[in-house]
């Protein structure tokens, strides 16, 4: 979208430019990828009576590949504000922006790159380190700050968590506004490859390695979004000549590219060279699960765990394979063995400076007017929230993070297959609970230390249930209770032919609860119920997830019936049916993507990888032309939706993605 005054949030400063001093003072405390980029503006009211005004805002995805690229954007912002009176805390003010400064953190060299634009006037750049000292500006630093910026943009804009609005005074732009920028990032990856482990890694990874870190995560996401498979593979093959473990990344890219045979060959080759590379064994295991070769998948899963027994991911995978095999006991045992990363947090963007409510300027963009999305009143939502049962609002499972969330997901898959009663029996049979353990051991202390007692065998065979897993059982109980009561009430109301009414926020919590318990259909009903009353971002996002899963399933079915080869009447019929269903789903998906994009746009965010991916699947199935037509037909021009969606369509065209390749 075109940058307008209404797409620029700002925070007023007490002292103009103090945000930069505060930022500089904190450089040494920056962790992992550091804070989002900062733009500081100095505004004056012509006439010269009033003093200068300082404001700032944050950025992700701004093209900072060179000082001129940065200067261009700063100029654009300055012009946008200067060109007409700005609605400013209830009045219109005709500001002139006299200075715009941009600061961005290079996590590799641990320095800030600062670009200053005087308006009118010169552009200057300096680099500052954690001790506040100026450092020589180098190509390496420019590459590092560019890569850091792309990583911040890609690593944090995930669909897994409630990230939108985390920092409202912030703009999120598309970091790959041209293929050259995506290719530049691939180049940066190659150059900075050996420094990747220093920047940090996902919290479930205990020790960052050359193939497990945020730089690698950003590379894979880039490749997935842009489809620059061959460019990436060329670089990875070069790196592999020096570092064999890179083969894991090659395999991952080949799988993204859907080159299964090549991927399996590379996997084989890599494992021949490094039989105990746990990452290769994990990929192999996951591939085999997908192919339904569970016994083989188990072998690889065990080998992965045996090769890196202190990493969470390999244990979690082993637990899943056992579950797929129907071996609940071993699944629980191995789940219990998962090493937890109790204290690590996922990297996320943090506010660097205070933003008191009365100093924040949050304009409402008016170029996209999707009624129900824009009308969502956060005060009303907050009030709704306060009015409901707090037990529902505070289900502990919703707050689980990182390894605990992943372990919980496995546990819910287990209970989904066994049911609660059976799960409790399994638990009692194989685990000693912490309590039991303690009471047993205290009561035995005196006797046992006399050497008179032999631990009875039943007790001995059991394992101690880790405290966190014990806790997950309790959390699971809360979720199940909520879900079961809801379903029971529903049946009761249906029997009585009464309408089962809930507030949207209640449907949201019930839906999330059902989603966690893998009752996707029921979850989707709850989300739809909520959305009938008002827009709700969480419901929309999760309903989108559900539709995407459904579409995936249908596509598999279609492939199957197509691959069947037989063209008899029944299968043609069914193929036709599937196609109709998919068409219908794609329309629903498109509608949700439009709403979420409009919501993000309202909060100054123009880039969300998960929406690009979701839209990509529709474009691939339906073709870009058809999708474009549907959007223009479905939304009147004055809503601005077509213009808004055009940014994404451009992305597909620029990168020649399937469905857009003409």
């Amino acid at each position: 979208m075109i940058t307008s005054q209404r797409s620029i949030p700002e925070v007023k400063e007490d002292t103009p430019g103090s945000c930069l001093d505060e930022r500089a003072a904190k450089i040494r405390t920056f962790q992992e990828l550091g804070p989002p980029d900062l733009v500081s503006l100095t505004k004056v009211l012509p006439g010269g009576k009033t003093p200068e005004l300082g404001t700032f805002l944050y950025y992700t995805g701004l093209d900072n590949s060179s000082s001129s690229a940065v200067a261009a954007h700063l100029n654009q912002i300055a012009n946008t504000i200067s060109q007409e009176p700005q609605a400013w805390f209830g009045k219109y003010k005709h500001f002139k922006v006299t200075k715009a400064i941009y600061a961005s953190y290079d996590a590799f060299s641990q320095v800030d790159v600062v670009v200053t634009c005087h308006l009118p006037g010169a552009v200057s750049t300096y680099v500052i380190d954690g001790r506040g000292e100026h450092v020589q500006e180098t190509d390496r630093i420019w590459l590092g700050v560019f890569a850091s910026s792309v990583m911040r943009s890609l690593v944090t804009t995930d669909d897994e968590e409630e990230q939108v609005n985390a920092i409202v005074e912030s703009r999120a732009l598309d970091p790959f506004s041209s293929p050259d920028l995506a290719k530049l990032f691939l180049h940066a990856f190659e150059e900075l490859f050996y420094e990747g482990p220093n920047i940090g890694c996902a919290p479930e990874v205990q020790t960052a390695s050359l193939v497990q870190n945020y730089l690698v995560d950003a590379l894979l996401k880039t490749v997935e979004l842009t489809g620059l498979y061959d460019e990436a593979l060329e670089i990875l093959e070069r790196l592999r000549t020096k570092e064999e473990s890179v083969v894991a990344l090659i395999v991952k890219v080949l799988l993204l590219k859907d080159e299964e045979v090549k991927a399996v060959k590379a996997l084989y080759d890599g494992i021949q060279k490094t039989p105990r590379d746990p990452e290769l064994l994990l990929i192999e295991s996951q591939f085999l699960i997908k192919k339904g070769k569970l016994t083989l998948a188990l072998k690889s899963a065990i080998d992965a765990v045996n090769s890196a027994p202190s990493e969470f991911n390999y244990w979690a995978n082993l637990s899943k394979v056992y579950l797929e095999l129907g071996d609940i006991e071993q699944s629980l045992f191995t789940l219990n063995s998962c090493p937890m990363a109790a204290f690590k947090e996922k990297y996320h963007l943090k506010r660097l400076l205070l933003a008191p409510a009365d100093k924040v300027h949050l304009p409402l963009p008016n170029d996209v007017t999707l009624e129900d999305v824009v009308a969502l009143d956060t005060n009303m939502v907050a009030q709704e929230h306060r009015s409901i049962d707090q037990a529902l609002a505070n289900l502990p499972a919703a707050k689980l993070k990182t390894t605990l969330a992943k372990a919980y997901n496995i546990l819910t898959e287990i209970v989904h297959r066994t049911g609660w009663e059976a799960l409790l029996k399994y638990r009692a049979r194989i685990f000693v609970m912490e309590e039991e353990y303690r009471s047993k051991s205290t009561s035995q202390t005196n006797i046992a230390e006399n050497g008179n007692v032999n631990a009875d065998d039943g007790f001995k065979q059991k394992r101690l249930c880790e405290r966190w897993l014990d806790n997950l059982f309790m959390i699971l109980y809360d979720d199940l209770k909520t879900y079961t009561m809801w379903q029971a009430e529903l049946i009761h109301f249906q029997a009585q032919r009464t309408v089962y009414e809930k507030l949207p926020i209640e449907w949201e919590y019930l839906g999330m609860c059902a989603f966690r318990l893998h009752h996707y259909k029921e979850a989707s009903v709850a989300f739809q119920n909520a959305l009938e009353t008002r827009f709700a971002p969480v419901c929309t996002r999760n309903l989108l997830k559900y539709y995407l899963l459904e579409a995936q399933g249908l596509q598999k079915q279609a492939l199957h019936s197509g691959a069947n080869g037989s063209a008899d009447q029944a299968s043609v019929e069914s193929a036709h049916q599937i196609e109709r269903k998919l068409d219908n789903l794609d329309n629903l998906i498109l509608e949700l993507i439009v709403k979420l994009t409009a919501w993000n746009h309202r909060w100054y965010s123009e880039f969300a990888p998960y929406l690009v991916k979701a839209l990509g699947t529709v474009v691939e199935r339906e073709g870009l032309v058809k999708v474009e037509n549907e959007i223009s037909a479905g939304y009147a021009e004055e809503t601005g939706v077509a213009a808004m969606m055009n940014d994404y369509f451009q992305f597909f065209k620029l990168f020649n993605r399937p469905g857009a390749d003409s």
Partner: protein, 84 residues
């Protein structure tokens, strides 16, 4: 081969605490202790590398890898007729 004598210091649900003569503290799964062992018992632990088993496992490992390659790493879907 390493052989070491250990005293069972504490014996709990799943873990035993064993102590060497020079005060190494070893957490050891209770399940791996012989029956009849109590706190205060002395046990001998012999640890030996099992090269035979290593070889066997390497063989199985290689076999599995070959099988996976055969199943999914050949360009043509495996046609049964070729097997003759």
């Amino acid at each position: 081969m390493v052989e070491v004598s250990l005293t069972v210091g504490k014996l709990d649900a799943s873990l035993a605490l064993l102590l060497t003569k020079d005060h190494h503290l070893i957490e050891f799964p209770t399940i791996l202790l012989p029956d009849g062992v109590n706190a205060g018992s002395v046990v001998t632990i012999k640890c030996e590398q099992d090269l035979e088993q290593e070889k066997e496992e390497k063989r199985i490992f290689q076999e599995t890898q070959d099988k996976i390659l055969e199943l999914f790493g050949t360009n043509e879907p495996k046609a049964p007729v070729l097997k003759l």
